[in-house]
Symmetry: C2
Subunit: 113 residues, 2 copies
DNA sequence: GCCTATACTTTGCATTGCAAGGTAGGAGGG
DNA sequence: CCCTCCTACCTTGCAATGCAAAGTATAGGC
């Protein structure tokens, strides 16, 4: 799976993390695995953890530490009401962008051959 | 048409401009109109012109100035071979990102009600 | 004891979108 | 003739974000 360039990810990643956490409580390390499984490629720790902390400070997600039997403690995040609101505003913007890009890409496919 | 947040546009815009110029020679001011028509919202001049200059320096596009009957000179851009290559590498990355996001958004639609 | 996988944090840099301001031509109204 | 608007381009400086790099720490296998 090819790596998605940093600049393409910009801004999208916050929405992606919100949507992942919305599916059920998770922790940073697991989020990284989930992103890879979804096709986002390997998003480095130096991206994920600072972003989670920022979102926590903004009140979009909240955290609780729990012990793990297979390693160090995990910091489990879950969505707050503000996080729900953020998702509700993110999704349509993303869809708008995706549609606009789709128009360009499809138009290109037609003309390029 | 709602405005797409800056952070979502990051990186995407360069690809969008390449695809627009690939459809046929255009100039900055017209690109702005085209973006709006495609659904990208109003992308400010302070975004478009610096980006076009950067892409020109990188050799992805080339420019020629021509007079206009209805106003100041226009700087027409057209794609170079390097620009074609850039499109060829951009499009699959974008599609990868769009697919990964689609999985998350669709999953959300199912669970949310 | 050492190495690997797991798990989180912090610092500093590079890139990019954009607000704000500047320059300038042509057309129309006052 | 001046003023305003639309057209058309450029530059400066700031803010946001991804990420490399380095550090800390637990658990298990060799």
């Amino acid at each position: 799976m090819a790596k998605i360039p940093s600049q393409l990810l910009k801004g999208t990643l916050e929405g992606a993390l919100l949507l992942i956490i919305a599916r059920g409580e998770t922790y940073g390390y697991a989020v990284q695995t989930t992103l890879a499984e979804l096709g986002f490629g390997t998003v480095p720790e130096g991206t994920i953890y600072p972003l989670l902390l920022k979102m926590q400070k903004q009140g979009l997600i909240a955290a609780e530490r729990h012990a793990s039997k297979t390693g160090p403690d995990r910091k489990y995040y879950h969505l707050t009401a503000a996080g729900q609101t953020a998702i509700a505003s993110f999704v349509p913007r993303w869809q708008q962008l995706a549609q606009a890009m789709a128009r360009l890409v499809e138009a290109k496919d037609e003309t390029s051959q």
